[in-house]
């Protein structure tokens, strides 16, 4: 399985730092969620990892080899951007079937039969002009191009966002089915967490171009605890813990705590009559990416 890695990676556009000394290692054979708010650097990071852009500093590596201008690495990576990156409309061969044929020529692991089946599933007609595709149809084509590429490393950059609900479910079903039949590394970037999070085995959260957390999705789900009760008791029980969010309503306070809420603390909280509860992944994400140190 291919290992994709960013080492101390930096990407600057003029004075803007989009990716800031970020290190992350994606072991093969998993579905990853790359989570970050708009402008957090998701697209920039994926572009460098796929070899579309040259890093300003640090390295992007596939199995230890630099990705940039390395055909042996880039042929194994498929980055699908929201636009689908397909052939131009003013080209004479500008229909859906031409886009698939083109992918068949440039993608070494392309499966044309699977691509045709997917095109049917998404109700895309082969003869439709690319310039006349609706936003949803363009997104569907992007999903087809990514799935049928069967690339050992496939990166979907928010490409499914334009799909309507039934088509999104089709995408999730096909993605899971094909991943189980042909295990490979898949990265899905998104800022909409609730619906897709169950597809992920591991989650990478970035903010302001930096890594915030990389963790097993299920572990992350059980990582936060909310503590509600009289303010003074809440403060006492949560002292020494990482408190990511606080709200007050009169004498009552609610605090969101990260990390293990161990047995002794739990007992103390219960004895003080505090209410303990879990934190939803979406809320955890909001708190992890709120006011965390931006680039300086």
């Amino acid at each position: 399985m291919s290992i994709l890695e960013a080492r101390d990676l930096t990407l600057r556009y003029g004075k803007t730092t989009a990716v800031d000394r970020l290190s992350v290692r994606l072991d093969g054979g998993k579905i990853y969620g790359l989570l970050g708010r708009n402008g957090s650097g998701k697209t920039s990071l994926l572009s460098v990892l796929a070899g579309f852009r040259k890093a300003s500093g640090g390295e992007a590596l596939l199995d230890g080899d630099p990705v940039f201008e390395n055909r042996n690495a880039t042929r194994r990576i498929c980055l699908i951007r929201e636009t689908g990156d397909s052939v131009d409309d003013d080209w004479p061969y500008n229909r859906v079937r031409d886009a698939l044929a083109f992918a068949g020529e440039v993608r070494p692991y392309w499966d044309p039969t699977y691509a045709a089946g997917l095109t049917d599933r998404f109700e895309l007609s082969m003869g439709k002009r690319l310039g006349q595709l609706s936003r949803g149809q363009r997104a569907a084509l992007a999903c087809v191009l990514g799935l049928a590429s069967r690339a050992p490393v496939t990166l979907f950059d928010e490409c499914y966002l334009g799909l309507d609900a039934p088509s999104r479910y089709t995408f999730y079903d096909e993605l899971l089915k094909d991943f189980m039949e042909h295990p490979r590394t898949i990265v899905i970037s998104t800022h909409l967490i609730e619906e897709v999070s169950r597809l992920f085995e591991e989650v990478v959260v970035i903010h302001a171009g930096r890594l915030v957390v990389q963790e097993d999705a299920e572990e992350l789900r059980s990582r936060g605890t909310s503590v509600i009760g009289p303010a003074e008791a809440v403060d006492r029980v949560t002292s020494g813990l990482v408190v990511t969010g606080e709200k007050r309503l009169g004498p009552t306070k609610s605090a969101m705590v990260l990390g293990e809420f161990d047995g002794a603390r739990r007992t103390a909280a219960e004895e003080a009559g505090l209410e303990l509860g879990p934190v939803a992944l979406q809320d955890l994400f909001v708190h992890l990416t709120e006011g965390v140190g931006g680039p300086t």
């Binding site: 479910y169 899971l176 189980m180 999705a217 572990e219 789900r221 059980s222 509860g277 879990p278």
Partner: protein
């Protein structure tokens, strides 16, 4: 799409559902449980999550693995689960009810009367 509560690991919720099926008898002793891949497709979840649910159920002695064939319900699982649920029933269900009755000022005698009344109604119907 089948919904999960956002605040508990999905694998625990799935393990819980399978245990509920065993308790109800929907899944009988020595009956084959869905495979990891079937479970992943059915619930639209990552197969690693499905595998974790099975791991938990194996550790809790609810299911056992037959190499190359699949996962099956342990014959003693229903009776053990029933015992566990009985043990927890008073702590999980009765205790909170008593606390709530006290908070809103319903005398326990009235609660007991009502329960007996309901039991008679159920017997008659």
């Amino acid at each position: 799409m089948t919904s999960f509560s956002e605040d508990t690991p999905i694998y625990r919720q799935i393990a819980q559902r399978i245990k509920a099926d065993v308790l109800r008898g929907t899944l009988g002793p020595d009956e084959r449980v869905m495979s990891t891949n079937e479970l992943a497709e059915f619930y639209r979840i990552n197969p690693a999550t499905a595998a974790k649910a099975f791991q938990q159920l194996v550790e809790e002695d609810v299911i056992y693995k037959r190499r190359g064939i699949g996962m099956f319900v342990r014959p003693d699982a229903p009776s053990r689960l029933r015992r566990e649920h009985r043990d927890r029933f008073f702590a999980d269900v009765v205790r909170p009810m008593v606390v709530k009755a006290n908070t809103i000022g319903i005398p326990l005698s009235e609660v007991i009367d009502r329960i007996q009344q309901m039991a008679t109604e159920d017997d008659e119907s």
